[in-house]
Every structure is written in C-alpha cells, then in structure tokens.
C-alpha cells in the first residue's frame, strides 16, 4: 500500500502540491488525472524518492520513503517498476539490453535465462522479436512498450505509469490502455497511472484521484467519482472530455 500524508511541495514560489493525503490500495489501478503541469509527475516521483515533499510523508508498504537513505531507497525501488513519460530507454543499448538491464544489475541469472525473460516480456507488451532494434529506431508508442517491458522485467509489486498515453495517436493510446488492463489482470499487482486523458481514465481506473490547482479535489472509486454531483468535478470532466 502507498500512502501520502499531508504532502506539501513547492518549487521556489510555485506551490505545486498542497496538503495531499490519500491511500493507494494494493492490486488495483489507481489513476491520477489533472491538467498538465499540475504536479502529477512530482507526486509520482515521490513514491520512488526522486522528489521529496517539503512537509508531510510518503509511505510504501510501511516504509517512510521520504526519510530513507540511499540504500533503503534502493531496497524499496527493487519492488517498483516505472514507465517514464517517453520511455527513458538508454540510447546506448539495444531494446533487448534495455529490458535485460535491471536483470543484469540485480540478479545473477544466466544469459540464457535473461534472454528468455526478455523475449517473454517483449511479447507481453506486444513487441515480440524486436530485441535487436535501437531505441532511436522506435516510434513513441513502441518506446513506451519497451519501457514497460523493462519496468516489469523484475516482476515488481508496484508499477508506476507517467502519462502512458500522452503524445500518442488515439488508436495507439487505446491499445496502450488495453495493454495496461490486460497486464493488470495477468500480473495482479498495484498500478499507479498519471493521465490527462479523461475517457481513457474512466476505462482503466479502479480508483480515480483528481488533481486541480495543486490540491487533490476528489479521490475515490471510479463509479463514485463518475456519479459525483460536485460542480467542480462536472465542469472539469465535461471540459476535458475528448482527447
């Protein structure tokens, strides 16, 4: 379980997060939506300790990550996979080497075993047989898929997705949404997703958090949020429908 307790964050004079509190349950897909620049990525990076809150605390499975030292953080990160906004693949390595990278760094599996896992994960994300390609040869959607394969290579308990569908054409975005749903069904782990795409959010989310004006204005089960009569939410969703 991931928990935010009264998290504040500013950059200089810019207040980005204001008293955010919520608990993200295990084994569900939780989606944070909000206009771009509202602080979704910052909120997500706090889970892996890449950003620290100014005040408040962030907990992952009973560990307070904002107070951990490097070694502790690395222990927590071992059970988390993260898909970055445009994949963050290492350019100097092929697709296969990228996916194998966490395996080589953290396990002592033999090369044959690693190759097997790599092709299995690539097949799982719908990119079978492109082990030998270079990141620069891939389209945006393909890079995200490879990034996802890398994120799940170590079979993490938690997978974080930073805007998995942004910058993609609608068809590709739908395909990625389907992939997320399918993977969650197969892997049964905790997914946290950032998005500014409202229809996609309603399709994949179990829980939805709405970030607006640096506050978490709503957080709850999908149906609950969808049915809400709150004026702000209705305005927000109707204005942002459609991609």
């Amino acid at each position: 379980m991931i928990e935010y307790k009264n998290v504040d964050k500013s950059f200089g004079d810019l207040r980005v997060l204001d008293h955010i509190s919520c608990a993200i349950p295990e084994g569900k897909i939780t989606v944070f939506v909000g206009p771009s620049g509202v602080g979704k990525s910052v909120l997500m990076k706090m889970i892996v300790g890449l950003e620290k809150p100014d005040a408040g605390s962030v907990w992952v499975d009973g560990d307070e990550v904002n107070r951990m030292d490097e070694r502790g953080l690395y222990r927590v990160r071992r059970k988390i996979g993260m898909l970055f906004q445009d994949g963050a693949l290492l350019d100097s390595m092929t697709v296969a080497e990228n996916v194998a990278f966490p395996l080589r760094q953290h396990t002592s599996k033999r090369e044959k075993e690693i190759a097997r896992i790599v092709s299995e994960k690539l097949a799982l994300v719908g990119m079978p047989g492109c082990e030998g390609k270079w990141p620069s040869e891939l389209s945006g959607g393909m890079r995200k898929r490879v990034g996802l394969a890398r994120a799940i290579a170590l079979e993490p308990e938690i997978v974080l997705f930073d805007e998995p569908t942004s910058g993609l054409d609608p068809l590709m975005a739908d395909a990625i949404d389907d992939l997320i749903l399918e993977m969650q069904r197969k892997l049964r782990c905790t997914f946290v997703v950032n998005s500014h795409d409202i229809p996609g959010t309603f399709r994949i989310a179990d829980l939805i958090g709405v970030l607006y004006d640096s506050r978490l204005v709503a957080y709850g089960e999908r149906e609950e949020i969808q049915r809400s009569r709150d004026q702000l939410l209705i305005r927000f969703f109707s204005r942002h429908t459609g991609r």
């Binding site: 990076k45 890449l50 953080l73 071992r78 970055f84 445009d86 963050a88 290492l90 760094q105 890398r150």
Partner: protein, 255 residues
C-alpha cells in the same frame, strides 16, 4: 532538486564549487566502497585510450616540432642553439607531454562524458536508473573515473615520446643541430623520474577531467541546449583548472 535564492556571482561560484566537492566525494566513496566490474573499467579505458590516441600523437608531433623551432631561435640569440635538446626535453617531458595528453582527453573523452551524461539526465534516463535501483554514481561515474586514471598516464608516455621525437626531427633535419649532441642533451637532462612524474600529473588531470565533465553532465539544465552548455562548461572548467593544477604540480615536483 534545490530551489536556490537568486545568487550573486560569488555565491554562485562558491555554491558550484561546493556542489562539485560533494559530487566528487560521493563518486569517490562509491568507487571505493563498491568498485565497478573490472570488465567495464577496462572497456572504458580502451575507449578513452583509443579514442584519444591518434589525436594525442598528431598534436604531440606538432607541439614538439614547434617547441624545437622556438627554442632554437631563442637560444641562437645567445649562441646556444646546440642546447635546444635540453629545452625540448625539459619542456616536452615535464610540461607539454602531460598537457597535450590531458587537453586532448578533455576535448574528446571529457566532452563525450559530459554530453552522454547530460543527455541521459535531460531524457530522464538517470531518474530511470535510480528507479531501477541502479546507483548512477556506481554505474556511470566510477567506471569512467578508474578508466581515465588508467588511460591518461599511458597517453602521457606516448605524448612524451612523440614530442621529443618531433623535436629531434626538426632540430636535426630542419635546423641542422648535431644529432649526437641533441640526444646526449636529452639523455642527461631527462630521467625516468621525469616521465614518472609526468604520469602522476596525467593521473591528477584524469581525476579532474572526469569529475568536472561528469559533474557538468550530471547537473545539466533541461532541454537540448542544456546538453550543449554542459559540454562547453566542462571543457572550459577543465582547461582552467588543469593549467593551474599543472603549475602547482610542477612546483611540487621540480621546484
């Protein structure tokens, strides 16, 4: 990320120096406490060495010949043109060898380090490393640090030989200095000690080049301009600091 108050020039420079100190300390700590795999160090050393070898040789050749020319004409004023061997030997082995090797490694390998690491920073790949629980210092910096420590002193030896060789060619064949006199002068005034001190200089330059270049890359500003700026800053800061360091080392070794 820190949110700093608008800095004045002085506090800005001090803050940079402090941050560089912390960066270097962290890099050193990781290199000692969890040394990188020998294979990756040797591979990097091979890369750095081979990348810079040909240019070090070419430039060493031109520097050596120019030093011989200048020395010859300067000494001729006092009728001492046959002493050019001493001048070439001392200037090349003690000063120019380490400087040529260092500056070319800074220009080729140093900029490559800064650009690679800055690109990784800008594209979020360093964050990705951290999320994959791979320490960027250990993965990116330590191998480069040890590798440049291996490669640069070796390049210094190459540069020593070639500068003196070029000086010999110019002095003997272009300026008509007696070959035996030249070689005798070189042999009397330069010993293994000088070559060895030059290698130590090379090692110090290697540390400075690697730590400064990696630092500029690691703290690169966002965007594609950030990469370019990081690379340029790396070259300039390395040059200035190495010149001053070179003097201090010469003072300590030969002073």
């Amino acid at each position: 990320m820190s949110n700093t108050v608008k800095p004045s020039l002085l506090t800005g420079v001090l803050a940079q120096v402090g941050r560089w100190g912390i960066f270097s300390f962290t890099a050193a700590r990781w290199t000692c406490s969890a040394p990188p795999a020998l294979g990756s160090v040797l591979w990097e050393a091979y890369q750095i060495g081979v990348q810079s070898l040909s240019i070090v040789c070419v430039i060493a050749f031109f520097i050596g010949s120019t030093i011989a020319l200048q020395g010859y004409y300067a000494f001729r004023e006092f009728g001492g043109q046959n002493l050019v061997g001493i001048f070439v030997a001392l200037a090349c082995v003690r000063e120019m060898g380490p400087i040529v090797a260092g500056s070319m490694v800074a220009a080729k390998a140093g900029t490559a380090m800064a650009a690679t690491i800055a690109t990784m920073r800008v594209k979020g790949q360093i964050d990705a490393l951290e999320v994959m629980a791979v320490n960027p210092y250990r993965y990116l910096i330590s191998p480069r640090l040890l590798a440049s420590l291996i490669a640069l002193p070796l390049l210094v030896v190459f540069a020593d030989f070639i500068t003196v060789f070029a000086g010999y060619l110019v002095a003997v064949y272009q300026l008509g200095v007696n070959s035996g006199t030249f070689l005798e002068n070189v042999a009397t005034y330069i010993g293994m000690r000088d070559v060895f001190f030059g290698m130590i200089k090379g090692g110090v330059f290697a540390l400075l080049i690697c730590l400064l270049s990696c630092y500029q890359g690691y703290y690169s500003q966002p965007g594609p301009e950030g990469v370019g700026r990081a690379t340029n800053r790396a070259v300039v800061s390395v040059c200035i600091i190495c010149i001053i360091m070179n003097y201090l080392l010469s003072e300590m070794m030969y002073g």
